[in-house]
């Protein structure tokens, strides 16, 4: 029997089988009257193993037989086949990101001042790990707080050529609300908005003013 054919059969069988295969199991693929010559299966295995040089998989022997497996070098990429989306960013994270985008360079303290609540360290770290924000310097005040700015990766992600392409604040009021299925946190948008209004001044009117003001920004 042609050694090339034997090698092809062995390769195909190892790749088709869900489990490792022993030499005996491989031999069982051939009809009795066409049994592969003595040693030819082992030779096929050896050849296949060598042929894996420079490829993304390797042929290894484990306790229950031979199998092809993904090489460790490329595992990092392949592992992304089984990815898990992290939970959506919280409202706090999005607000922080937005403030850094629109007010950079800005310190954490300044963000807290505007938001009216403390900014969690994890929030900053999360955005830094994503490489959307970076420290562009430190403000020269006691404690030398870091000044944050957005990165090119941030612009790339949102498909912007420059920050200019972010809508001016004046246009924020025109942004349609998101689908109810996409709330920022676990709280419904309506609930949040309502609570916010209640907390922060009796200011429906002010909101109107606010919306008008940013036109100066351009």
């Amino acid at each position: 029997m042609d050694p090339n054919l034997i090698r092809q059969i062995v390769e195909a069988a190892l790749l088709a089988a869900p489990q490792p295969l022993t030499l005996a199991q491989l031999a069982g693929l051939f009809p009795e009257d066409e049994a592969p010559p003595q040693g030819s299966l082992q030779q096929a295995i050896d050849e296949l193993r060598e042929a894996c040089e420079g490829r993304g998989v390797e042929l290894v022997e484990v306790a229950s037989g031979y199998r092809f497996q993904v090489k460790a070098e490329v595992h990092a990429w392949v592992a992304r086949l089984w990815t898990e989306r992290q939970a959506k960013y919280t409202r706090a994270t999005l607000e922080t990101l937005a403030l850094i985008a629109y007010r950079q360079p800005i310190t954490r303290g300044e963000i807290e001042q505007i938001r009216g609540v403390a900014v969690n360290t994890n929030t900053i770290k999360q955005l830094e790990e994503r490489e959307w924000i970076r420290v562009v310097g430190h403000r020269d005040v006691p404690g030398k707080p870091a000044l944050f700015g957005t990165t090119k990766a941030f612009l790339d992600y949102f498909g912007l050529k420059s920050l200019d392409e972010l809508p001016p604040l004046a246009e924020l009021k025109d942004i349609p609300e998101l689908e109810p299925q996409l709330p920022f946190d676990t709280i419904t948008p309506a609930g949040v908005a309502g609570a916010a209004m209640a907390d922060d001044t009796p200011s429906n009117d002010e909101a109107g003013e606010e919306d008008a003001a940013p036109e100066q920004m351009q």
Binding site: E84, E95, G137, H138, L147, D164, D200
Partner: protein
Amino acid sequence: MSEANAPEAGRPAFPVPPQQQEMPLAVVKGQPVLQMPQDLYIPPDALEVFLEAFEGPLDLLLYLIRRQNLDILDIPVAEITRQYVDYIGVMQEMRFELAAEYLVMAAILAEIKSRMLLPRPPAEEGQEADPRAELVRRLQEYERFKKAAEDIDQLDRLDRDTSLASAHVPDRSVARVPPEVDLREMLLALREVLKRAELYSHHAIRREALSVRQRMGDVLSRLSDQQFHAFETLFTPEEGRLGVVVTFLSILELAKEQLIEIVQEAPLAPIYVKSLAAAAGEEGETALPEPTSDGAEAPND
């Protein structure tokens, strides 16, 4: 017309018409049995197998036509009808559940046959008047899909002709991917926070375009080595006038926010710029590249 009545219960199944010269189609127990019914050449034992193989009246009709090497376009209705009805008779004899479709087809055949016997409508009615046309069309249509089914069956398919190749993945741990963010989500968040902060009603509104804000960060980064930089080196003439203006505005803004200092020893002397914002490394060193600046940077560091 008597054939059309054949399938009705209780009728003798085989009128036994004249013999046809055909090859036997079935071999039962090693013997080609040609006896009963003679016009069909299918023995009772084999009949069951045969009938199961038919996918309905059209299939049976096609079979009868093909078996006699007849052109589908030119069905001898009388002969085919007779054979077809014989078949139904046999099916009944075998106590087959006679599907309604077979009986309907028998009726259709009988109708065609009777219409063929009748005088034809006037010529201007066109060729559509041939009562066989509709049946031929249906047969043709069915045959196309019968063939298509066979073709599909011939395709290389998984499990039968091929199998998926897969390799073992030693570590199936799940990679965590950061969530997707819709730009609108961020903007809505901003809207909320700005409402809360009453930002608009205060001083905080910035006139500058966002590109100035972006450039401020860029300039600070350029200056992060804590050295003095020649003012003009901060500009990139290739950016054109707008880019230069943006850089200039960003430098002014940085100066206003006391994030940089600008030094000029004398009128028309070179201007130097230095970051007052300590770099991430926080060396805090203030080496001057030039012997020029002395007291200018007093208030900081």
